[in-house]
Structures are given as C-alpha cells and as structure tokens.
C-alpha cells in the first residue's frame, strides 16, 4: 500500500481522450490514453461507436442481399471485401468463374488497392502536418475513381462482383484509360519521392518511431503492410494463392526495420507492384464471358464450414461462413485486418511521445468502419 501511494506521488498521470471526434483517427475511434506528461503510459482503444452488426445482417438475409454490405465495411478498399465474400460463397456453392471475370476482378481490385494507398499516403502526411501532398494524391486517386466509376457505376461503395463472375463487361475505353493512368502515376512517383519520402521532416518523424517487432506482429495477428514492415514475408496473394494471381509476376515488398518508415515504404512499393499486376493482366486479358454460364438462381451451399481469405489493402481479410443448407448463412464471420493491426497499438505506443504515437497510428492505416463492422 505504501509503495503504491509513493508511486502515485512520483508519477502523476492523467487520462486523455483521443477521439471519438479527432481528425487523426479518421473516423469514430476513441483511444483512452493514460499520460505521464507528454509520454503515454497506457493507450486503450475503445471501439463500438460505428458498430452496425454486419455479421448479424449476414445471417438474416440471402447471400446476394449481403453483397452491398461489403462496400460499407472497408470503404476505401470495397472491391477487396467484395472479392473475399464472393469467393467464399463461390467456394461453398461450387460455382465456377470464367477466366475473363477473374482477370477483371484482379484488375479492379489492384486499382482499388492503389487508390486506397494513395488516400492513406495523403492522409498520413496530413496527420504529420504536411497539407500539400494530400492534394496531389487526391488528384491521382480521382483518375482511378473515374475509371472504376465507368465500370462499376459508383465511386466508393463498389459492388461489382457477383457469384459466378462480374456485373458487366468492361469497355475498350477502360483499358486505354487504365494504361494511360499507369503511365501517369509512374511519372508522378518520383515526384512523391522527392517531395515526401526524401523530405527531412518526414524522415525525422518516422525513422525509428513506433517499432513493431516481428514477434509482436505475430502475437497480435498483424497482416498486410504492418506485418511486412516488420520483416514478415506474408501476402495472401503469394502464399495462399487465389483467383488468377499465380499467373502474374510481382514481388512482395518486405522491410526488416519495423518502424513507421518501413510501413510507409512497404505501401509506396506496393503501389508499383499493383501497377505491374494491372499491366500484366491487361496484356493477358482473355476473351470470353464475364459470367458463369448458368449460375444457380437460388444459392444453397451444402452444409459445412467454409473459409476464404484475400489480401485487402490493409491486410488479410477472411470470410468464414457456416452454411446449414438454406439460402441464408448460419454464421458469417468476417476477419478484418485493421482490427488485429489496431490491437497492437497499446503495447507499441507505451512510453512514446503523443505526437509520435499519432505517427504510429497513421502508419497502421486504420479504417474505423472496418474495425467495428
């Protein structure tokens, strides 16, 4: 008792609420910080401000009716979520997908990944106090949104994939537009490099800040750029191949440092790799139908337990569905990558300065509706 009292006298802490309305949390995330002056003693993320019961919704509507929900979870990488869900149901119901449809899925998902990383890039630098790069990143992202809008009909909450294929075929203007865009982004990348990556202020704010060790990333189940920034070479596209990814030649950027700069570099390199995949897919794009010849009108997967994981922009997104043989899911479990990535924040942020912790949080690339689902 005496020791505890003494400790309290020597270490006067106070509680600080970061969020739920804070520009650096990009949504309604609340982090309860116990501070010792400028240093963080404890950082407890409080979730649930935007919980919408997506998993429960999956249980009381037919398989097809859940499709629009996918775009409402990870609103920046809606197509990856769309892909994960559709592929899981296809695996369960044994629906074959034509090759052209798989190629279109890969092209649109990779474009979506670039747009997601571009937004993260702008918002992350904005968190660190640099305003201009956001505007340049949005300029490029706008081109992708226009391209995807011409195919899917919407700009953010895409719902393009259907069980057995995709909604409709692409036009030639999309192919030429995408090639032009890739050329344009390749030209812009050196500019981002000179303006942001080599900027001394950014380097000072990120280098050796918020180290996440390999072991910590493994313990919390971190995936995606967070794990790859800590030296874990894991990418679902390479290690549990799905769709037509094995046909493309691309690298998985891995950095050993584990600091915020490493995670930043992983994402910047990933954009280039995504561009490579899109280019190869456009070159190889086969002719043919974009929808399975006879997809079942009412989907009733056989009784059982099915799982399918995809690599979303923020990490591995898994769909586990339990079917009882009816036209609705018995249980739909969605494994979102940011939930695991955020859970290591408490341990990683301990003992850090508050502004540094915000740099760490930004480098985790949080999307709150995906955490809360």
């Amino acid at each position: 008792m005496n020791g505890l009292l003494q400790q309290d006298v020597n270490q006067e802490t106070f509680t600080l609420n970061l969020g739920p309305q804070h520009p650096a949390t990009h949504g309604v995330l609340r982090v309860k910080l116990v501070m010792d002056g400028e240093y963080i003693v404890e950082a407890e993320p409080v979730l649930g401000y935007i919980h919408r019961m997506h998993e429960k919704m999956g249980e009381n509507r037919t398989w097809a009716k859940f499709l629009p929900n996918c775009g409402r979870m990870d609103y920046l990488g809606a197509l990856s979520y769309n892909h994960g869900y559709v592929a899981a149901v296809e695996r369960a119901a044994g629906i074959e997908v034509p090759e052209r449809a798989e190629y279109l899925r890969v092209i649109t998902v990779e474009l979506n990944r670039i747009s997601s990383h571009l937004l993260w890039f702008g918002a992350f630098v904005l968190d660190l106090g640099g305003f201009t790069p956001l505007l340049y990143a949005f300029d490029d992202r706008e081109q992708i949104l226009d391209l995807l809008e011409s195919v899917t009909g919407s700009r953010l909450t895409y719902c393009y994939f259907r069980f057995g294929g995709v909604y409709n075929d692409i036009e030639d203007s999309f192919i030429t537009g995408t090639r032009e865009f890739i050329k344009r982004l390749r030209k812009r990348m050196p500019m981002y490099d000179a303006l942001v990556t080599k900027n001394i202020i950014l380097i000072k704010r990120l280098k050796d800040i918020g180290p996440i060790s390999k072991d910590m990333a493994r313990r919390y189940g971190a995936t995606g750029p967070v794990a790859r920034g800590s030296g874990i070479n894991f990418d679902v596209r390479k290690h549990e191949p799905y769709s037509v990814y094995p046909e493309f030649d691309f690298d998985i950027p891995v950095y050993e440092e584990g600091d915020s700069m490493a995670r930043y570099m992983v994402r910047m390199d990933e954009m280039e790799q995504s561009m490579r995949i899109v280019e190869q897919a456009l070159d190889k794009l086969p002719e043919g139908p974009v929808m399975a010849a006879k997809p079942p009108r009412i989907i009733k997967p056989e009784k059982g337990d099915y799982y399918h994981a995809v690599e979303a922009a923020r990490g591995s997104f898994g769909v586990r569905l339990v079917s009882d043989g009816t036209n609705q899911a018995y249980r739909l479990k969605l494994r979102s990558p940011t939930f695991s990535n955020l859970s290591l924040f408490n341990e990683a942020a301990r003992g850090m300065l508050l502004p540094d912790a915000l740099a760490l949080m930004g480098s985790l690339d949080l999307v709150i509706p995906e955490i809360d689902r």
Binding site: R61, A64, K65, F66, L67, P68, N69, R72, T132, Y136, D139, E142, D146, E149, S150, V151, T152, G153, S154, T157, C159, Y167, N168, M191, A194, L195, V196, K198, N199, I200, I201
Partner: protein, 146 residues
Amino acid sequence: MSGYFKELISGTKSLFIGLGITGKYFFEPVVTEQYPHEVPVMKPRFRGHIELIPDEETGEPKCVVCGMCQKACPTGCITVAGEKREGVKGKVVTQYILNFTTCSLCGQCVESCKFGAIRFSKDYNKVSERKEDFIYDLIKRLKEQS
C-alpha cells in the same frame, strides 16, 4: 559531428526540392472542377436512384408487377402494386413507390428485373430538409417527364 552537418545540408536541400515541386505545380493549370459553374457529366453506368422505363408505343410503364424488384431489395424500400385491366395482357402497375431514405443504390432491383422495366436515373443532386421528399412516386415522375 560531420554527420550532423551533412544531414543539416542534405536536409535543407530536401526542403528546397519540395518547395521547387510545389512551386512548379502552382503554375500548372487547375485540375479541380468549379462545381456550380461546371456540372459533372454522369457516366453511362452511373447508379442513381431507379426510374421506370416507358413503353415506346404507349408511353405507359413497362412494369408488369411481378414483384421481383421488391423481393430482391435488401432493405425493402420498393413497394409495387397493380391491378388487372380489361383488354391488357398481364397486370398494370398502379403504384411504384421508392423509399429513397433506406435505398443503398446497390442496383439489385435493376438486375432482377426480367422485363427491362427499371433503370438508373442520372439524378445526383437531391437535397431536402423533409424526409417525405425522398419517398418517390415513380409513376408520377414518369408522367411528369413525358
């Protein structure tokens, strides 16, 4: 010590390079759309709220009240009613209400329609302070358009 001065010089240089880039972009043409003066052109596949398609000969809605759109809607925002009329094959639509407050623009209704009776409109700037303004009577809308 020499590392410190090296960083000081290279760091200052990186700031000037950044300033040069922003300076260059300052003189380039504006890329943003000046919205009220310039209106965006909607893409052909743009998914607005749905509208009824008129029959080219009669101008009446093509809808035959099969109820597939109502059934396919995840949020149940479509209400369709119809009646049998003398001399007309099938049913005639008498009521087609879209509750836009709960519509998520997923387009499952358009996909489910086997008769090509509904399509996406190109309306995007819908603003009102009253909830009732978003309960659309699509038959009335069709008559107003023709």
